[in-house]
């Protein structure tokens, strides 16, 4: 080591003070970081992006298809748009986990002492998560087509539905980003999946039509954000979407983002300052 002394001294004597990075370059730096990590975790990613969507689509189509819609083909036409929503909903929890991991491992503290626009850490990571949502959705659609699903509004409908579901996932991600900042333990974030997401998913119209349900249940299901998203996705996919369907779905998403994004940034900034 002592042989390195002159080299060390030279490196340490260089004293350039670069200007603080602009917000865009900070966001891009975090997308770069997140991509690097994603690449090293591809095998795990494959489970979420390839295997889960296929398995769930198979289970729901063939187990419930006959019972619910009389035939698996009919059911698939109904189910697939909702399955898109279902697939990404379970993935939104990851943003919370990655924020919590940064906080626990102390990288967060290093970030906080650097002079960049702090929300970039969350936004940059989230942008890469959107790519994995898109990959999981593509798998679901491709496999659905293989099983016989046909979007009645054609390619345009399918693409619009895809876009809507990604926007939906983006909006829900903010809830978990927020939870990730405040959670005491990583496990409590994952358990939120069971406490909040699963009940919401099964009280939605993803799997069944609401017309056979008792009157009191209808409104609850109708205003469940998961239902709003899957109604809109279904409508876009088959060309039956009403303006009201789309407006309610988009309004719900906007509400999530407007409430949870600023809240997350605020809590994130305050995190170490208790």
């Amino acid at each position: 080591m002592s042989t390195n002394q002159p080299k060390l001294l030279r490196v340490l004597t260089v004293s350039s003070h670069p200007n603080r990075p602009n917000a865009l370059s900070a966001v891009l730096t975090f997308t770069w970081r997140s991509l690097k990590k994603t690449v090293s975790q591809l095998p795990y990613m494959a489970i979420d992006v390839l295997i889960f969507p296929v398995i769930f689509l198979l289970i729901f189509t063939f187990m419930f298809g006959g019972a619910i819609s009389g035939s698996t083909g009919n059911y698939l036409q109904f189910l697939l748009p909702g399955m898109l929503v279902y697939t990404v909903t379970t993935m939104t929890v990851y943003i919370g986990i990655s924020i919590k991991t940064d906080i626990d491992r102390g990288v967060f503290n290093r970030f906080r002492t650097l002079p960049f626009w702090q929300p970039a850490a969350i936004i940059g990571t989230m942008l890469v998560n959107l790519l994995s949502y898109a990959a999981a959705l593509a798998t679901t659609i491709a496999f659905g087509l293989l099983l016989g699903f046909r979007p009645e509004a054609g390619l345009t409908g399918a693409l619009l539905a895809l876009l809507l579901v990604i926007m939906y996932a983006f909006s829900v991600s903010w809830i978990f980003a927020c939870i990730g900042v405040v959670a005491k333990k990583t496990e409590s974030i994952t358990s939120m999946t069971y406490i909040v997401l699963y009940p919401l998913m099964f009280t939605s119209n993803v799997f069944t039509d609401t017309s056979t349900m008792p009157d009191w249940l209808g409104p609850i299901i109708a205003y469940n954000p998961i239902s709003l998203a899957s109604t809109a996705a279904r409508g876009l996919m088959h060309g039956t979407a009403t303006a009201q369907d789309l407006i309610t779905a988009l309004a719900g998403m906007a509400l999530f983002i407007l409430v949870f994004a600023p809240l997350t940034f605020r809590l994130y900034r305050q995190k170490a300052k208790q």
């Binding site: 080591m1 002592s2 390195n4 002394q5 080299k7 060390l8 001294l9 030279r10 490196v11 340490l12 004597t13 260089v14 004293s15 350039s16 003070h17 670069p18 200007n19 603080r20 990075p21 370059s25 900070a26 730096t29 770069w32 970081r33 690097k36 990590k37 090293s40 491992r105 102390g106 990288v107 503290n109 290093r110 970030f111 906080r112 002492t113 650097l114 002079p115 960049f116 170490a272 300052k273 208790q274």
Partner: protein
């Protein structure tokens, strides 16, 4: 910006987490260009103190200045001057060493090319070129520590916080880190070292403060602290470990019973003596009892002994630090 000679100056710094008062009024002055050690067991308040000085948390009351800048009101400027390492600010374990330096470099404001150039330059100077593409999580203790320090050197800090920089390192890596710290100080950086290991403070620090239970219980140079405890300590190693109980009796007879300490090594014991002549008498008494010694030396007390004398318990005693 008010100019003064201190890199760090705090007055009456207090901080509580809930009902737990972690800092109970800390007064500290660290001169520029020196290595200053903050010594204390886990839970003494070291981490909280550093978090306040590096603007990560705010004090409840009292003031803290870094190079004359208030850590609350001039937080942004202070942040530009300090570097954090270790548990205060970790590296990303899932990225390679090089990617870590590029990441932090970009976030500091280096352009793409400049960030890579700076990263490679630092990897080279810190002997990490061979491990540049390996995940930081797979680094050895010494490599990890060097990467940590390198990450704090992307822009030269005027004040560097080092947290137990050599704990758990083998002697060679330890010397490497010590060399780095000395080079930094030569270059003019002020280093604030926090540690619970006395040897580390003894080796590196110009001055040190011992904190315990949220207050500074002693402050000065290592020599001053040692002198405050007593003029010296005799270290005795016996030929036959089984004679230790007898030797202990002899020492206790001649000295204050509380001054005698048995060491973990079964043939060793030590005692504080107020007067060198007493030491000579001890040697005579031991040989009269037929106790053979391999080593009998009179030296300054170690910082370990200082800590024991100051707090009434050994420095190694662990208390869980559960504040963040």
């Amino acid at each position: 910006m008010t100019k003064n000679n201190f890199a760090v100056e705090t007055r009456g710094l207090r901080k509580s987490f809930g009902s737990v008062e972690v800092l109970k009024g800390i007064d500290l002055q660290v001169e520029r260009g020196t290595v200053y050690a903050i010594l204390g067991p886990n839970g003494a308040g070291k981490t909280t103190l550093v978090n306040i000085l590096s603007t990560l948390i705010r004090p409840d009351s009292g003031t803290a200045q870094v190079f004359g800048l208030d850590v609350v009101h001039d937080a942004d400027k202070v942040r530009g001057m300090v570097g954090l390492t270790g548990q205060f600010a970790a590296v990303d374990e899932e990225l390679s060493g090089r990617d870590n330096l590029v990441l932090f470099g970009r976030l500091t404001g280096y352009g793409r090319k400049a960030a890579y150039a700076r990263a490679d330059e630092l990897l080279d100077a810190f002997d990490l070129t061979d491990a540049a593409y390996r995940h930081a999580g797979k680094y050895s203790g010494g490599m990890r520590r060097r990467l940590d320090i390198a990450a704090a050197m992307l822009v030269m800090p005027d004040l560097l916080f080092l947290d137990e920089p050599t704990t758990g390192l083998d002697p060679r890596s330890r010397n490497g880190v010590w060399d780095i710290v000395r080079t930094l100080v030569d270059r003019g950086t002020t280093v604030l070292l926090t540690t619970q290991y006395l040897e580390e403070a003894d080796q590196l620090a110009d001055r040190l403060a011992v904190i315990d239970g949220g207050t500074v219980i002693a402050e000065g140079t290592a020599a001053e602290l040692k002198a405050s405890v007593g003029s010296g300590t005799v270290h005795i190693r016996l030929t036959k470990p089984e004679q230790r109980a007898l030797a202990e009796q002899v020492l206790q007879r001649e000295l204050d019973a509380a001054a005698v300490r048995l060491h973990a090594e079964p043939a060793s014991l030590s005692a504080q003596v107020s007067d060198p002549e007493l030491a000579a008498r001890l040697l005579t008494e031991l040989s009269r009892e037929g106790i053979e010694t391999v080593q009998f030396s009179l030296g300054q007390p170690s910082l370990d002994e200082v800590f024991l004398a100051l707090t009434g318990r050994p420095a190694e005693e662990e208390k869980e630090e559960n504040v963040s």
